[in-house]
Symmetry: C2
Subunit: 413 residues, 2 copies
């Protein structure tokens, strides 16, 4: 583990000394070059992706016949690759599938972890398509000070949290790498095909590996690539290969899929399409990303109503506020929604557009006090997490195993 700790320290050190000329965004590190947080427009240019614009959002509404998810309207899913091709397929009633995933590094998932899954669920229902969810327990074993047994256990616990969001077992396959790779020749073969086409030089450039990186990490990107190809799941897709794939994920996962999209045509496969989300801010401020390793930076799915209340209300110690320091000051100067974490959280979890706009206006003018804003957020979070807790407690191991069994899903191809 010493080597890895050094790795991280080295990165942090480099960052501080070189004073970051641009934002750093990769699967293991997110750091901003300014105190305004990550510049997402610049990221789109650098990564070569496309903006989720009004036209695309309208087309999604037309094709699905459903109002756009508020994550689309509010810029949470802000970037994409090849989404118009996916919409072409949907228009022609041709099949595609969704792929998302999670590295099960901690027992309890936090609110930020939910974002891609909430949106994926909406996509699945709006387009009525199959979904595969990868739990990269092998990745976490390689990167963290974790045994394989512990990584496997976390996969199972995290699967429960994901299932509790309400996914349809007939249309969803959840798999742990440690289990599925050792069950599926097709998956291992796609890993090997990818590994043959990608050099050390390439992963060094894409992921920032260096010569002291272990060989497991070096070949791992092939494991994240494999689920993009439907041929990795013969049971799920009834042996149909080349069903196109759409990957909803946070933007820090894009390096994996830039590599995958580079390799796909050389394997005779279709490039996966992508939808990228911004980062869910930590309680301490919008510039930072929530971290499961700091209990106070996040609200966890296991938090009690009281813990949620404490974390949100303990102003500035926990949830960063954009309100005035006194009621008088607030009424006079108004609140600043752009930096207020409670308001930011409402943009993620308050679905009612009108109510959100009302809050924004009255908070900015100073009419709505910080306490009321926080109270509204606390109620919403207590409801979401309470319902989640309730649904999770009803999940038996058998249901989890059902989701995790390779099988044909309820689709005709």
């Amino acid at each position: 583990m010493t080597e890895e700790t050094n790795d991280i320290e080295k990165k942090v050190e480099n960052m501080t000394t070189k004073n970051l000329e641009e934002d750093v965004v990769n699967p293991w590190e997110v750091a901003s070059s300014s105190d305004k947080g990550v510049d997402y427009d610049k990221l789109i240019k650098r990564f070569g992706s496309s903006k989720v614009d009004e036209e695309l959002i309208k087309r999604i509404e037309t094709v699905t016949g459903k109002p756009a998810h508020h994550f689309l309207k509010r810029g949470v899913f802000f970037s994409q690759r090849d989404m118009h091709q996916i919409l072409n397929l949907a228009e022609q009633k041709k099949p595609f599938f969704l792929y998302t995933g999670r590295g099960p590094s901690s027992e309890a998932m936090h609110l930020g972890h939910l974002i891609p899954f909430i949106f994926t669920k909406w996509l699945q229902e709006a387009f009525d398509v199959p979904l595969v969810i990868q739990l990269t327990d092998d990745e976490k074993f390689l990167w963290k000070d974790l045994t394989l047994e512990e990584a496997s256990r976390l996969s199972f616990e995290n699967a429960k949290d994901i299932i509790a969001l309400g996914f349809d077992v007939e249309k969803t396959f959840i798999f742990s790498d440690l289990e599925y790779i050792a069950q599926s020749p097709a998956f291992y073969k796609n890993m090997l095909r990818t590994q043959k086409l990608v050099t050390y030089n390439q992963v060094k450039g894409i992921f920032g590996f260096d010569d002291s990186t272990c060989i497991g990490k070096i070949s791992f990107p092939s494991i994240q690539a494999a689920p993009s190809f439907s041929s990795s799941f013969p049971q799920i897709f009834n042996n149909k290969t080349n069903i196109p794939c759409l990957i909803p994920c946070a933007i820090d996962q894009d390096p994996y899929f830039r590599m995958t999209r580079d390799v796909a045509p050389r394997l005779g496969y279709i490039k996966p399409a992508l939808m990228h989300s911004t980062f869910f801010p930590a309680l301490q401020g919008a510039q930072t990303k929530m971290s499961a390793s700091d209990a106070n930076s996040s609200i966890f799915l296991t938090d009690t109503d009281k813990q949620i209340k404490t974390k949100v209300t303990t102003v500035n110690k926990y949830a960063f506020s954009g309100g005035g320091t006194t009621t008088e000051e607030h009424k006079e100067k108004g609140g600043n929604c752009d930096v207020d974490v409670s308001y930011q959280y409402l943009t993620f979890f308050l679905e009612d557009d009108n109510r959100l706009e009302e809050i924004r206006k009255t908070y900015t003018s100073g009419e709505l006090l910080t306490g009321y804003l926080k109270k509204e957020l606390i109620e919403i979070l207590q409801k979401i997490i309470g319902e989640h807790r309730q649904r999770r407690s009803q999940l038996t191991d058998d249901i989890v195993k059902q989701f995790m069994t390779p099988r044909k899903l309820k689709f005709d191809y």
Copy 2:
């Protein structure tokens, strides 16, 4: 493939220009720095292994109660690691197992490929121990211009050749990586454990990889390491972990196992012991290694009696001779056994020590003519390959599948 071809060309070029200060011996390249061939004594010093000496051979005879195999007496298996520890176990009737393997790169195996298997079979019978045989079809896919389907097919064909040597199905498990890794969580877990402990720097140093090497090759050594650990085969060893392992192989495979022995204690595993063989010479001369890609450098298990005869008799065009150019010259000056390939082959395949010594004496003196020496070799090879052909033709696919099914072997642990 272009990248790989360039790789090899680069190596060859380097070799020629720097005029080799020492022999090059690794899994993908064997080249000698002198025209006398590889200096095996120097190799023992460089690799840090031990000589197979008289004392060890006597001890093997004492412990097994059997006369030593002629490969031991004639220096074919010339180097070892930890063999005395294996003999200690055998003396105490404690279990160990044998592990050897093959990269199935060609349809037909040649005589040289048989050497480790012939010796492994003798070891298995002399010590009565279980044996696992790895067919690294994934390696061949990564290194050669081969599809996965073709690599799998070659595994199956090569398994037939190996089984035809007479291995006991109740004591032997043969597996293809492409099949078994996707069947065995335990094997994949040991791959990952090894991958976590080995850095790119290390495999660069051990195997000569460079930055343009594909990531599949970089992580492959972990796949060759895994069978050294009995925990990779829970069905075979009845879930017993840490049963010690002895690996008979050609000396060019040692880099894999130097790495494995370095990693083993850090995983809480026992280091595998080794016995190393010299290289089987090509027909063109003792300095060179047989190559399956040059049909005329080798005698194949598929060769007909006529082909064997032609390859051995067509003097100097095919089998390099150490005899005189005319009968008169030969009778006057005698033959040179040290460079005569037919004589070298007899040291591998003529088991009768007395007859071999008689041939050596009379050939050296000039009494025995080249034609008679070759005739004796032709008869022996026709018999060996004829019997092999016969046994192979009787093998059904079902028998091969039986060998390749993970199952408990006939041993009590």
